[in-house]
């Protein structure tokens, strides 16, 4: 019954578009409960949307991993040297 409702052409098309548009908010947990449940239910009956969400999730995970592997040398000493040589006193309020 529930599956038939989700697969109704009007409902399916609407949920499909909503899933594509709100995928980031869904994955970030920034959708309200109703819309989040609706996206999840649609992905359950729509393999392309399930793959779409999975690939977007993997992309976001990959982006987050970039932070952990950054190995640029520290710039702290250079900043402090500039401050000591050029940094005038702060402007007043």
């Amino acid at each position: 019954m529930m599956r038939a409702m989700l697969l109704h052409p009007w409902r399916f098309g609407h949920d499909h578009r909503m899933t594509r548009a709100l995928a980031s908010n869904f994955l970030d947990g920034e959708l309200d409960q109703d819309r989040s449940a609706r996206v999840a239910a649609h992905a359950h009956v729509c393999p392309p949307c399930a793959r779409f969400l999975a690939s977007l999730r993997q992309t976001i995970t990959g982006l987050r991993d970039l932070r952990e592997t950054s190995e640029a040398p520290s710039v702290r000493d250079g900043v402090i040297d500039r401050l000591r040589s050029e940094g005038q006193a702060p402007d007043g309020d």
Binding site: S24, R51, Q58, L66, T69, G87, P90
Partner: protein, 189 residues
């Protein structure tokens, strides 16, 4: 980041305490530099932009009202400085581009094949980020790589949260399209 520690240091820096401001530099310089490096082509210019951002922050810290966290205020200055430098370069070549260098993951994982896959994905991600226009790249860097919240990233960019989310989604879709051949569930389709 430690907002409470920041608050005390900021209060002292506003009184002209340079050592307090230098402590803020030690807390935030490398993370700000990580953001700026993804917005500015040249590593030397990225360091210069980071230094300039802190100089500007020091000179104007008396005008910091505490409406936002110190680091979001600082990041905004850094992003603006990066934008100023890339704009200055606009007539001389590529506006923004990421380093070609691919840093190996610090934890290489279970085996050589996995290492290659990670390195390939990393390189593809870096290239895809580098191809984004700044208005889409900045939200992606702040939110997904640096881990700022939606509200914090929106404050840094001085835009609303809805606009931030919209740009972030478009940026993620562009990156996902560019790297999908490297994603585990996509490669074998």
């Amino acid at each position: 980041m430690t907002p409470c520690e920041d608050d005390d240091l900021v209060a002292r820096a506003k009184q002209g305490d340079r050592e307090a401001f230098e402590a803020l530099v030690r807390l935030h310089a490398d993370r700000l530099h990580a953001v700026v490096r993804r917005l500015v082509d040249d590593p030397g210019e990225a360091e210069e932009a980071t230094q300039e951002a802190f100089l500007r922050a020091w000179r104007s810290i008396g005008r910091f009202k505490g409406d936002s966290q110190f680091f979001t205020w600082l990041y905004r200055i850094g992003v603006n400085e990066a934008h100023r430098i890339t704009s200055r370069r606009a007539g001389r070549g590529p506006v923004v581009r990421l380093d070609d260098e691919v840093v190996q993951p610090s934890d290489p994982g279970p085996g050589p094949a996995t290492r290659v896959e990670h390195a390939d994905l990393r390189a593809a991600l870096e290239a895809a980020i580098g191809a984004l226009e700044p208005e889409y790249r900045i939200p992606l860097v702040l939110r997904d790589i640096e881990g700022l919240s939606t509200a914090e990233a929106a404050q840094v960019m001085d835009i609303g949260e809805a606009a931030l989310k919209s740009r972030l989604h478009r940026a993620r879709l562009a990156v996902r399209d560019a790297v999908r051949d490297y994603l585990p569930d996509e490669a074998d389709r």
